[in-house]
Symmetry: C2
Subunit: 596 residues, 2 copies
Amino acid sequence: MTYRAPVKDMLFVMKELAGIDAVAQLPGFDDAGYETAQAVLEESAKLNEGVVAPLNVDGDVQPSWFKDGEVTATPGFKEAFQQYTQGGWQGLHHPTDFGGQGLPKLIHAACQEMVNAANLSFALCPLLTDGAIEALLTAGTDEQKSTYLPKLIDGTWTGTMNLTEPQAGSDLSMVRSRAEPLPDGTYKIFGTKIFITWGEHDMAENIVHLVLARVTGAPEGVKGISLFIVPKFLLNSDGSIGARNDVHCVSIEHKMGIKASPTAVLQYGDNGGAIGYLVGEENRGLEYMFVMMNAARFGVGVQGLAVADRAYQRAVAYARDRVQSRPVDGSMKTAAPIIHHPDVRRMLMTMRAYTEGCRAMALVGAAAYDAAHHHPDAQARAENQAVYEFLVPLIKGYSTEMSLEVTSLGVQVHGGMGFIEETGAAQHYRDAKILTIYEGTTAIQANDLVGRKTSRDGGRVAKAMAAQIEATEGELLQQGSDAARAMAQRLAAARRAFLDVVDFVVSESKSNPNAVFAGSVNYLMLAGNLVAGWQMGRALLAAQVRLAADDDTEFMKAKIVTARFYADHILSKVPGLRDSIVEGAAGVTEMALEAF
Amino acid sequence: MTYRAPVKDMLFVMKELAGIDAVAQLPGFDDAGYETAQAVLEESAKLNEGVVAPLNVDGDVQPSWFKDGEVTATPGFKEAFQQYTQGGWQGLHHPTDFGGQGLPKLIHAACQEMVNAANLSFALCPLLTDGAIEALLTAGTDEQKSTYLPKLIDGTWTGTMNLTEPQAGSDLSMVRSRAEPLPDGTYKIFGTKIFITWGEHDMAENIVHLVLARVTGAPEGVKGISLFIVPKFLLNSDGSIGARNDVHCVSIEHKMGIKASPTAVLQYGDNGGAIGYLVGEENRGLEYMFVMMNAARFGVGVQGLAVADRAYQRAVAYARDRVQSRPVDGSMKTAAPIIHHPDVRRMLMTMRAYTEGCRAMALVGAAAYDAAHHHPDAQARAENQAVYEFLVPLIKGYSTEMSLEVTSLGVQVHGGMGFIEETGAAQHYRDAKILTIYEGTTAIQANDLVGRKTSRDGGRVAKAMAAQIEATEGELLQQGSDAARAMAQRLAAARRAFLDVVDFVVSESKSNPNAVFAGSVNYLMLAGNLVAGWQMGRALLAAQVRLAADDDTEFMKAKIVTARFYADHILSKVPGLRDSIVEGAAGVTEMALEAF
C-alpha cells in the first residue's frame, strides 16, 4: 500500500479557503504563491511517498532500540532523515537568515501533513526540532541563534522538548529538575525527564535538549521555571563537537504505537551536572516553552489529520479490492467489491469528511499565523493572532480526537483482516492514540479554549467567528443547491448551539467552574466540529463555482458530496453536544467520590 | 490492579430490571432465584478475580505459541481452564441431562461478564464451546449429544466454530470447503478455514470443530451449506480418544489484541480427508450455525461491556492515585488526585454509564431468552423470543462499539502512561477492537436489525418497545425528581427519533435499500443507545424507590447520578443520529466510485 499525498485537495484548500494569493502579498512571501506551493508540494510528495512512507511498517516491526545508553533508529531512518534535511525540508518555514527557506506556514503545514501521513514516528523528529528552533528564535541570544539554528535547520543536529517529569505531566508547576548557577554564567542541570521524544538517537551528530528546570532559590510553582539549552555534546570554541555532556538516556518506553520514535527517560547530572545555557530570562521558561508548544500543538493536530488520511487511503484500497456479498439494491448479480456496500461507503465518507474538514481548518489556521506574523498592519496582525490562537486548541484537540474514530473505522473496513497486524490498518489505530495525549491532552486543550481563548475576551473572537459562519450560511442559501441548503441548515443549527455554549462558558466560568469544565472537552469538540464544518461549507461554495465553470468537475462534485456528508453526519452531532454542555453538568459533578 | 466483579450492580439489575423473581417462577428454574444468583455470582467473582484476571497481562506478553502444528497456551491458562471447568462454569446454563447446572441465561450472562472482564482471551474458549453445545443441542442426534455434550460441558473437550474462509467472511455463500459422502454415512472434509478461535491448543484432550462445508453436488449459495462435526481426534467405539483426524493447524495469526487466544488457520483433508459427521440435515447448516452464532453474538456483546468495566475500574484506580494540578473550583490549595478534575469525572462517568446501560440491556435480554425458552405459555414464549431477537444485534453491536470509546477513554484517563504497555490500559484498547468485527461486524448486526428484526414485521416489535419506553417516561415524570425529569425528557426525544427511523426503515427498505442501509449502523447505534438508556431510566426509578426506603443509599444515589449522566450525555446523541439516518443518505450514496 503506497501513500499518495493529497496534493490536489491541499492546493484547492490553499487557493479557495486559506487564501494563498493573499499570503503571497504579505511582505517576505513574494515568491510564495500558488505556483510555488504547487512545486513545493509536488517535491514533498515525491520524497514522502517514495522514501519516508515505505519505512512506516519497518518502524513498527523493528522499533528504535536501546542498549547501553544509546538508541539506534530503525534501519533506513537515518538515511531517510538525511534526504529529508538535505532537501531543505526541516528549514522550509524557518528564516533564511539561518539557512531556512522562509516559506509561509501555510505551505509548511501541507508538507508537514505529508511527512506525518507517510510516517508519524519519523516525522516526530523534525516536529520536535521545529519546536526547539521556535523557542530559540523567540528567546535565544544572537550567539545562541547563530550557534544552534543553522545546524538545527540543516539537520546536522536535532532538538527536543524536556518538560515532563514523573510527578509533573499536565501540571508543570511540579517540575523539580534544578539548575545551579555557575560563575561563568552557565548552569549545572540535575533531574530526570521522561517521555522525551527522540530524546536519544543516532540520526544526527548532536541533540539540542531544551529543558525546563528551577534555578536554585527560584519561586515555587510555574513562576520559578527557567528554560535551558542542554546539548548532548558540548561545543568547542570553534563550534565543533566537544565533550559529552552529563545527560544520558537510561531507557526508552515500550509503547502501543509510534514505536520507531524513541521515547526516552533522560537523566541529567548523575555525574556532576549537565552544563546548560539559560534561554532568555530566568523564571520565564514556561512562557518560552509555550512558544514551542503552540507550534508543536499545531503540528500534532496535523498529525491527526495525516494519520486519518493514511488510514482512509488504506481502507479505500482494501474496499476496492475485497469482494464480498451482492449489493443490497440488486444492481449486481454477483458478489461485489465491498466499496459498493452502503455501510462501507458511510465509513469511508466519514473518514474522508473528517479528514478534509480538519485539513481545511489547519491550513486556514496556518494562513492566519502567516498574517499574524507578516501582515504590515498591526491591527490585522493582532486579529489574525487571536484567530490563530483560538484555532490551535481546535486543530490539536478536534483533529486528533477525530483521528481515533477514523483509524478505528479504518480497521473496521478491513473486517477481520484489520485486526491482523500484517495488514497495516491496526498500526494507524495504535499510533493515533498518543495524539490526544501528548503536547497537552484534549482536556488541556479544552482548558485553554475555555480559559485563555473564550472567557478571557468575553467570547469576542468566538462570536466574531460565528458571525462569519452566519455569512457563509447566507451564501449557501443563495447558492441554493440541495447540498448547499443542507449545509446552511446544519451550520445554522450548529452555530446557534455554539453561541449558547459560548454564553454559558463566559457567564459561568467564574461562578460555576466545575460545570464549565465538566463540558470543556465537549465544547472543544463542538467548536472544532463547527469550524471544520464551516470550512467544508466554504469549500462547497467554491466547488459549486468551479463546477459551474467546468473546472475539474469530478473533483468538485466529490467535494460537494463530501461537504454534504459532513453536514448531515458530523455537523448534525453539534446540537446534542450543546445539550450535554449546557444541561449536563449535574451528571458529571454530583457523583460522590467514593462511589466511583 | 485487581479486577473486582460488580456483583452488587448485577444483582440490582437482575432484581429490579430483568425480573429474576419472575424467571425463578418459570418451569425448571425453581431454585434459580435471587439467593441462588447471589451465591453463584459470589463464587464466580472469587474464581475470576483470583485465578483468571491475574493471567490477563501474561496472555498479552506471552501469547499462545505455534510450533509444528501445535499450539501451546500461555502458561497458567491450562490450569485456570481446569479450575473453571471443574467448578462447573462451562455447564452453568446447559441442561442437567448432560451434566450442566441448568441455570437461567440471566445468571450465566452475569458470570460470562466476569470471566470476560477478567480475561477476554481466556473467556473465548468457553464462549466458543458454548456455541458448539448450542448447535448440538439444536440439531444433533441423540448419539451425537450423548457422545459430545458431556465432555464439552465438563471441559474435557472444547468446541470451535469454523465458518470463515479466505474468500468467505461476512459472505458465507462463498464457502468452498467440501464434504464427500462415504458409504458408512460419514463424510470426508476438505478445505481451509481461517480465523478459528481456539482452533488449536493444549488445554483440552480433544477439540470438537463444527464446520461449514458443501456436500458434493449441493446447490450454490447459502442453501447448499451443511454443518459437520469434525473432532481433532476420532473416537474409538468405547468413546476413548482414537486416531488423529486429518485437520491440522498450519499457523496462527499475529493480532493487535486478544493475543492469548490462538486464531488458527485450519487445513482440512490434506492427507486424504478429515472424517466429519453431519449435524442435522444436509444443506441446513447455516440455519444451525445461526443458533451458535446468536449465542455467540450475545456473548460478544457481553465481552464489550466486560472489557469496558475492566477499563473503567483501571481508570478509576489510576485517577484516585495520580496527583496532578489543583481543582478548578479552588476547593484545594494543593495538587489533587485527578479524579477531582471535572473532565476526568466526565470520562469516568461516560465509561460507567455506558457500561451500566449495556449491562442492564444484556441482562434484560437474557431474561427474555429464559422466558422464550421456559415460559409455559406459547404466546409469551413467542413474544419473548421476538424481544430477544430484536435485542441481540443491539447487545452485540452497541455494546461492542461503546467498548471502543470506553477503552479509549481508559487510556486517556492515564495520560501518557496509558500509551505505555506496562500500564495495562492499552491492552484493553487493543483487545476491544476485535469485538466490533467477529461474530458479524457491526454492519452485519445492523443488516440483521434492519431486515429480520424491523422490516420483516413492519416495525411491530420496535414500536411495542417504544410504547413501553413511553410508559417509563410517564413513571419518571410522576416520580418528579430533577434526575427523573431529565431522563424523561431525553427518553421522549430519543423515542420520537427512534420511531421516525423505524418508519423510515419500514417504508423505504424495499424501494430505496441504499438509503436505508446507508443509515443501518446509525440505526443500530440509535436503538442500542435508546434501549440501554431506557434501562437506565428504569434503574433510576427503582433506585428512587429504594433510596426513599433508606436501602443502600450510597449505591442508589450513584445509580441515579449515573442514569442522569446517561440521559444528558449519551441519550442526547440520539436526535442527531435520527437526522443522519433520515436526512443523510445522499451524502453516503452520491459519491462516484472512482472519486474515493
